[in-house]
């Protein structure tokens, strides 16, 4: 299959690379751009470990074609930190035990990030619904809710996370 030369905008930077037309965004990120933060946890878009934001919407990079994402803004977990420091949600996930093994965490970071971008003050049910597409086998999710709430409080208090 002849490769295409495409440009992706990832975490605010344009990167140009050659990719096969059938290459997934997840493989492009992990193999071509060495952004290994997004994880592959399944074969059938059932786990959410690969979640990235495309134009602000959370999407599964394992079932998106890289070539279809040209000219769209892609945000991966590597782009969540702010000004070289942990974002409030990242710090809160550490402090409240929201990440144990951490394999699901990149997907949750993106899911929470896009939830808070849409709705800065979500209810408990809205948080649950927003996290419902991502699986975690370690935490039982309970501490994640605490972390999300703590992050919202930290944002509200205007406290920077460093």
């Amino acid at each position: 299959m002849k490769k295409l030369l495409i440009t992706l905008n990832v975490n605010g930077r344009d990167v140009e690379f050659a990719c096969a037309p059938n290459q997934t965004l997840l493989d492009a990120l992990r193999l071509d751009l060495a952004l290994t933060g997004s994880k592959r946890g399944c074969d059938d878009s059932s786990c959410g470990a690969c979640t990235v934001e495309v134009d602000g919407e959370p999407m599964l990079a394992c079932t998106l074609l890289a070539a279809a994402c040209e000219d769209r803004r892609i945000l991966t977990v590597e782009g969540i930190a702010e000004h070289g420091a942990l974002a409030a949600i990242q710090k809160a996930y550490g402090e409240w035990g929201g990440a144990q093994c951490g394999f699901c965490t990149p997907g949750f970071m993106i899911a929470v990030h896009s939830l808070l971008a849409r709705n800065p003050d979500p209810s408990e049910d809205e948080i649950r619904a927003a996290l419902g597409g991502n699986l975690c086998r370690c935490t039982g999710y309970n501490q994640m809710y605490q972390a999300v709430k703590a992050a919202i409080d930290a944002e509200k208090a205007g406290r920077r996370a460093f």
């Binding site: 290994t36 592959r40 059938d44 093994c101 951490g102 996290l131 935490t139 999710y141």
Partner: protein, 864 residues
């Protein structure tokens, strides 16, 4: 001020930033120049002889570098010394659908996948065994020739006098309980990268380095050395971040060996990462377990005797099987309740399915489900409250149980008290409306096995600490952090002991070249054993620093206090410590020694004159290096002889230096129309000795309870002719955030006399209690006793139907009574299979209800 400065404080895991930023590297995130990709060809048949493998067409494909087959590495291995029955790739036979046949090494995953289709394997199919109770009677077509009747191992234990015990009982309850097969489904699929280095002396491939998602790097090193016929010292195993294990990475998984064999054949670094489906096939999860249980109790609620026959459907290889079947018995009699007379018959049976192994709560979970359910039935029978019957059968530690388990710290009474109180048990039990109920269950678990799987008197953990002139503390530990937070635990113990801040401590872990041996992250041993080794190493360093500091401060080394990044003379430190303000000031001052550090303390002394009563950590370290020439320490841990159990055959499994305890109450509601069970809340009290890091303890307890909840409600591996019907996360039904209830964790601290700072395990003990707690709550809600897990809507509905008066007379469910699972049902126990629901008897009330609504289907007379 509190007794400790780092211990007992909720701290973020030391590696959490790497996880939340995506910077942390897991095995599949690694790559190296010239790296190739391996893909494994799996068997499509459950039991067959291999007549021949023709890989020539695959090898001819552009981009394919090598194809490895069984003959390339025929040495047998297995995690247990008594169970060496696996080879890297099948040599003569395949024994389950998914068994490993060949490995293609190619330039990309896509090419490797294409090449798999070009390999031609000729099989001669053999009759296969799927039902353990059939398999036990096998005379021919054995799965392993050396195992007659496909019996991996059987044990028969008698403690006390069960016959007398049952005679003393006022009531005896018997029943068969079945828990279906579940798997770990850790979020990270297994992955291994193997690379050989060229030896400068011989010019040939020499040392091997393996990066792998493993809980047991040292066992992996050992098994690689057996299969590749290389000395262990030539093999380096490195564990990067691991995305969850739960036991699924606690033994050598085929791809770990295959990657190394493939790298040797391809003469290049090879990485293999399982697809999610392959993870399900690799399995090593919790076996389907059939428990025939009999319990005798007196009217006063005292247990007089217990007899259990346990059959485990072990799959095609031994794996941890011998240990699993022993745990089921050892911790059933166990160190939870006072059981004076106990009989155990355990059978670990081979079948043509993927091997089962160790999974969180190893061996104890399904047996505990049976026991705690039956105890509830016993309580009902004698008219006693389920909480009360548990309180009447407590141990009185310190003691040794009939089966030789030593119990010291015992927080169970407090766990029961606390959950009863928090859940409002006494006020609410029995007063909830129909359809809603409360149930209780208890469990316990080892804090590490007192006997390692390779029997020896060697230490189970060793830890080294290095401190140099910069005052940085580096801890070298073999402990494998798989997300449970062992690196953080090690850092906390070192920091607390040396009186320094957590930020000063760096942990180098699980790299067989750098770190001393630790037998791995399984049986919840790491905090207890590696923690103790870390404590001892840190104490060795502390002694050296204190000795040197004492000279500088003109006091005895007993009077040296190390705390808050400073070293004090006790006189100056005072009984209460210098107070927060001064401590903060010294912490701030520490780390600035005005460029003197690299010169040594003689010059420092010249600048400062005379003795002092306080030094910064750096000054003290420099003084110690001056005084001793080198500063470092080692510590190791081996369980004490008294904790290592009795002398009978099989007594090695079950003993532990300390046991954790858990009591849980579940509140559920049951929808009698749909059969759906909703868990509203679980209160879980866990005795972890001392909580070194309360957030991490809570996370582990909640995580275990949640995993048990999955097994109780929906997780189940469903088999059809040896083929797994649900090898994906959605079909396997791992609960998502939307389905997961609130779990309230109550930490009970019994402070163990031998644990590091009194700590015991926290990661597994809570899993077993939740399944019976839910079963008992379902009974409380709607009066049905479910004896087969998971409690799916089909099973609930069938049981509800069976409860109706007409149904009792006509045995509505035919010979498939879900409340009395008597026979093995290969489809995994689900009543709906072959594309239609269970056939209904003509008098089925459900049919009549439908008829009344005018859409009665024709009654079928093939009721099973």
């Amino acid at each position: 001020m509190s007794e400790f400065s780092v211990i007992g404080k909720p701290v973020a895991l030391v590696d959490s930033a790497g996880k939340t930023t995506g910077q942390g590297k897991y095995t599949d995130d690694l790559s190296m120049p010239g790296m190739l990709i391996g893909k494994i060809l799996h068997s499509p048949l459950p039991h067959a002889r291999i007549i021949g493998i023709d890989a020539s067409r695959a090898l001819a494909l552009d981009g394919v570098v090598a194809v490895a087959v069984g003959a390339d590495a025929p040495n047998k291995y297995g995690i247990l010394p008594v169970g060496h029955d696996e080879t890297a790739l099948a040599v003569d036979k395949v024994r389950y659908v998914g068994d490993n046949v060949a490995c293609v090494v190619a330039e990309s995953e896509a090419i490797a996948e294409k090449a798999l289709e070009l390999i031609n394997v000729r099989y001669e199919p053999l009759p296969a065994w799927f039902d353990p109770e059939d398999s036990m009677r096998a005379e021919s077509d054995l799965i392993h020739e050396q195992r007659p009747h496909n019996m991996e191992k059987e044990y028969h234990h008698v403690f006390g006098d069960p016959a007398v015990g049952f005679a003393e009982a006022d009531t005896v309850i018997e029943g068969r309980y079945v828990a279906n097969e579940v798997t770990h489904a850790a979020m990270e699929p297994h992955s291994t990268l193997a690379a050989f280095e060229l030896d400068p002396q011989t010019g040939l491939p020499g040392r091997l380095t393996v990066w792998s998602s493993t809980q047991v790097p040292y066992y992996l090193q050992h098994k690689l050395s057996i299969v590749l016929e290389m000395p262990m010292s030539q093999i380096r195993v490195i564990k990067p971040l691991v995305g969850g294990g739960f036991g699924g990475k606690s033994e050598v998984i085929p791809l770990e060996i295959i990657a190394a064999v493939a790298a040797r054949e391809a003469r290049a670094p090879v990485k293999i990462t399982y697809t999610r489906e392959e993870v399900f096939w690799a399995h090593r999860g919790r076996p389907r377990t059939i428990v025939d249980l009999k319990t005798g109790v007196t009217r006063e609620g005292k247990i007089t005797a217990v007899a259990a026959k346990v059959i485990q459907d072990g799959g095609a290889y031994c794996s941890y099987g011998v240990v699993t079947i022993l745990y089921a018995g050892a911790l059933l009699g166990g160190a939870l309740y006072q059981i004076p007379n106990f009989q155990y018959d355990g059978y670990r049976v081979l079948t043509n399915k993927p091997a089962c192994g160790a999974m969180r709560g190893h061996g104890t979970v399904n047996a505990r489900f049976a026991f705690e359910s039956q105890l509830d039935e016993a309580a009902r029978r004698i008219g006693m409250d389920p909480v009360e019957i548990r309180r009447r059968n407590l141990l009185s530690p310190p003691c040794v149980t009939v089966n030789g388990l030593r119990v010291q710290s015992y927080g169970l009474p407090e766990c029961i008290e606390r959950v009863a109180e928090r859940s409002g048990w006494r006020e609410r039990k029995g007063k909830l409306p129909r359809g809603r109920g409360l149930g209780i269950g208890c469990s316990h678990y080892v804090s590490g096995a007192a006997n390692s799987i390779i029997r020896s008197d060697m230490p189970h953990s060793t830890v080294n600490i290095k401190i140099d002139r910069d005052g940085g503390v580096v801890v070298y530990t073999g402990a494998s952090d798989i997300g449970q937070g062992s690196d953080t635990m090690v850092a906390q113990i070192a920091a607390e002991t040396l009186g320094c801040s957590l930020g000063r401590v760096r942990v180098v872990a699980a790299d067989t070249d750098l770190t001393p041996i630790d037998i791995g992250s399984y049986s919840s041993r790491v905090t207890f054993m590696n923690g103790n080794a870390t404590l001892r190493a840190a104490q060795a360093v502390k002694r050296q620093i204190a000795e040197a500091a004492a000279r500088r401060m003109n006091c005895s080394s007993e009077d040296v206090v190390m705390r808050g990044d400073c070293v004090w003379n006790r006189g100056a430190y005072g009984d209460e410590g210098p107070g927060a303000a001064e401590e903060a000031a010294t912490v701030a001052a520490s780390g600035r020694v005005e460029g003197q550090i690299l010169r040594g303390s003689v010059q420092q002394k010249r600048a400062e004159e005379g003795p002092k009563d306080k030094m910064t950590f750096e000054e003290a370290v420099v003084a110690a290096i001056d005084f001793h020439g080198a500063l470092g320490g080692s510590g190791s841990y081996a369980p004490p002889a008294e904790a290592r159990g009795g002398k009978y055959k099989g007594s090695g499994v079950g003993p532990s230096p300390a046991y954790s305890y858990s009591a849980q109450v579940a509140e559920v509601s049951v929808d009698e129309e749909t059969g759906v069970v909703t868990v509203h809340k679980i209160w879980a009290a866990h005795d972890c000795g001392r909580a070194l890091n309360p957030v991490a303890v809570e996370g582990q307890v909640i995580g275990s309870v949640w995993m048990g909840l999955g097994q109780a409600l929906e997780e189940e591996m469903i088999w059809k002719d040896g083929l797994l019907m649900n090898p994906g996360l959605l079909e396997y039904r791992s609960p998502s955030a939307a389905e997961s209830p609130e779990i309230e964790c109550i930490i009970v601290e019994s402070v163990d006399p031998e644990g590091p700072f009194g700590a015991k395990e926290a990661s597994e003990g809570s899993l077993a209690a939740v399944i019976p707690a839910i079963a008992n709550a379902i009974h409380d809600a709607v009066g049905i006793r479910l004896r087969e897990a998971p409690f799916t809507p089909e099973r609930v509905l069938a049981a509800l139907r069976g409860q109706q008066p007409e149904a009792r007379k006509i045995r509505l469910a035919g010979n498939v009574d879900p409340t009395q699972p008597a026979t093995f049902r290969e489809h995994g126990g689900s009543l709906c299979y072959k594309g239609r629901g269970p056939a209904r008897h003509a008098l089925d009330p459900a049919l009549r209800r439908k008829a009344a609504r005018g859409n009665a289907p024709k009654p079928k007379d093939d009721a099973r």
